[in-house]
Symmetry: C2
Subunit: 299 residues, 2 copies
C-alpha cells in the first residue's frame, strides 16, 4: 500500500508500550513476536525515527518514541470514534442520545429507564438537560437535544412532532407550620387567595408566560423547582407541586395537602417531542417505548 503509515502499526506501538515488550504485545494481539518486531521496524522506517532504545535486552521507548506514542494514541482513538459512528449509522442508532426533560417528570421513572437504556446500548453516550418551562423546547430548537419531555406551551408549532407521554398530577400543598395547614378543610379560594403562592418563573426567553394556576395576587417567583421546594418547606407560602416531588414530604407530614371546596389537584400533560427533521433513532425510540411501559406500570 502506498501510504506506508498504518493504524495497525500504531496499535502495535501502543500495545508494545503498554505491555512492556514485543513478545507480550504479540501475546496480547494474538500474533507472533516476529510480526511485531517487523511492524515496529516498518514504522520506524516510515517515520525516519528510532522509536526504541535497543541497547538492552528488551527495547525501551526512546524520547522520540514517547512523543510519537502520544500522537498514536490520539489517532487510534479517533479511528475508534469513526468506527463507532459507522456502526451507529449502520444500525440507525444515534451517536449520542440527547434529551431535555422538564423536572416535573418523575425522576425515578426517568432514571430507571435510562439505566435500562444503558444496558441495552452499553456504548451509547447520553446528554441530559433537566430544565423547567421553556427550557426543553429551547434545547430542541438549538439542536443540542434531539428529544424533549415537557408540557407544550405554544400550540401550532408545525415543525415539532409531539406525542402525549403522561399526565402529571399536581396538588396544592403547604408546610405543616403554615397557618393554612391549621385551618379546617376544605378551604375556600378566597382564603387561599390571601396567602402567598410560590410559583416558578421562566428561565428562558421562549415563553414569558407563567404556568400553573394562579389564584392569589401575592406571588413569590423562583427560578427553579428545588429552590421553590426549599421555600415551601420553610413555610413561605403554598403552591401546586407535582405529586411525585412531594409524596415523601406528605407522608412525613412536613407538607400538608390542601383541599379546596371547588377545585383541588389537576393534571398537567407532558409530551415527548422532537423536531420533524430530526426524528429519534433506534435508541431514542427504545427509550420512548420504555418510558411508556414504566409509566403504565407506575400509574
Amino acid at each position: 500500500m502506498i501510504d506506508r503509515l498504518t493504524l495497525d502499526q500504531l496499535r502495535i506501538l501502543i500495545a508494545v508500550a503498554e505491555t512492556g515488550s514485543f513478545s507480550a504485545a504479540a501475546r496480547r494481539l494474538g500474533r507472533v513476536q516476529s510480526a511485531i518486531s517487523q511492524s515496529v521496524q516498518s514504522l520506524e522506517a516510515t517515520l525516519g525515527l528510532d522509536l526504541f532504545d535497543r541497547a538492552g535486552k528488551i527495547p525501551t521507548l526512546s524520547e522520540a518514541g514517547q512523543a510519537i506514542l502520544n500522537d498514536a494514541r490520539s489517532l487510534v482513538h479517533s479511528a475508534d470514534l469513526l468506527r463507532a459512528r459507522a456502526e451507529s449509522i449502520a444500525n440507525d442508532i444515534e451517536p449520542e442520545l440527547t434529551l431535555a426533560v422538564d423536572p416535573v417528570f418523575p425522576t425515578h421513572i426517568l432514571m430507571e429507564s435510562l439505566s435500562a437504556l444503558d444496558q441495552a446500548f452499553p456504548q451509547l453516550p447520553v446528554l441530559l438537560f433537566t430544565e423547567g418551562l421553556g427550557g426543553p423546547e429551547q434545547r430542541l430548537r438549538d439542536g443540542v437535544a434531539r428529544l424533549a419531555v415537557y408540557s407544550l406551551l405554544v400550540t401550532g408549532a408545525t415543525d415539532l412532532q409531539a406525542e402525549r407521554l403522561t399526565d402529571i398530577p399536581f396538588v396544592p400543598v403547604v408546610a405543616a407550620t403554615h397557618p393554612l395547614a391549621q385551618m379546617p378543610m376544605p378551604i375556600s379560594r378566597t382564603v387561599l387567595a390571601e396567602a402567598t403562592q410560590l410559583v416558578l418563573t421562566d428561565s428562558t426567553p421562549l415563553t414569558q408566560t407563567l404556568r400553573g394556576n394562579l389564584i392569589g395576587r401575592r406571588l413569590w417567583r423562583f427560578a427553579d423547582l428545588q429552590t421553590r421546594l426549599d421555600y415551601l418547606l420553610a413555610g413561605f407560602g403554598w403552591c401546586n407541586m407535582p405529586m411525585h416531588l412531594v409524596e415523601t414530604h406528605l407522608d412525613s407530614r412536613r407538607l400538608i395537602r390542601l383541599r379546596l371546596i371547588d377545585d383541588t389537584s389537576f393534571l398537567a400533560p407532558l409530551y415527548i417531542v422532537h423536531d420533524r427533521t430530526r426524528p429519534p433513532g433506534r435508541a431514542g425510540k427504545w427509550l420512548i417505548d420504555d418510558l411508556r411501559k414504566r409509566l403504565a406500570q407506575d400509574g
Copy 2:
C-alpha cells in the same frame, strides 16, 4: 493486515470527495481507477456502510459517507501532524518555537528575525510571549517557552543557561509639555527627584523588586510598557525608556531627552536564556544566530 481500516483508504475517500469521481481521484493519486474502486469497496465492507449512492453514472457521497468523510479528514490531519512531528524530531527541529521576550528588546529586530525564520522553516509554528520583568523567566520555568530574551535579575540560577545578547540603551525622557522639559539642561538629581517618575511594576511573583534606577520618592507604577508610554506622552511624569521605543517621539519632539549633570543614559544588558535541560533545537539556534547578526548590523 488484521486491522482492516487504513489511513490509505481514508485518503482515497477524501480524494474521491474532493475530485468528484473515482477516475479523477485515481489521476490525482497516481493510481488506476480500479484500485480506487476496490479500495472504496473494501472501506465500505470494513465499516459496514454504503458510503456512496450508486444510482447514477458517477457514485455520489451518501449521507453516511458525508458523516464518515468528516471524521476521515480529522484522522488524516492527525496522521499528518504525527508525521510532521516525526520529521521535526528526526531533524532536531523543535515541533514549535516557543519564545518569551522582554518588550525592551527592539521590536523591529525581532520581527525581521522571525520573518527570516519563517522563510527558513516554513512549516514551523511559533509561540511568542511579550512580557516585561520576570515574565520571560517565569515562562521558561513553566515550560511553556523554551527560549527567553530578558535581563537576568536573579544571579546564580544554575539551571538556566544565559548568553549575553545585546545591551539596550535607556534614556530619561519627559513629555514636551512637562515642566521639566522647559528647564535649562543639564538638570540636577535634586530637581528630578521632585518630579514624578513613571516605573513598571512586576506582573509576576518571580521577583518583587523594582527595576530601573529610582531617583525620586514620587513613583507611579504601571503594569505594562505601552500604558506607561501613554501616560508619559500625556505628561504625567518622566521615566527611563529604551531608546528604540522613544526614538520617533524624540525626533517629533513629543518627548524630550533629559540631560542630568552627573548621569544620563545607561545600558541594560539582555540575555538569551534557556533551561539547561531543554536546549534549543536547530530552529532556536538559527534564530539566536540571526538575532546576533541583525543586532551587530544595527549597532
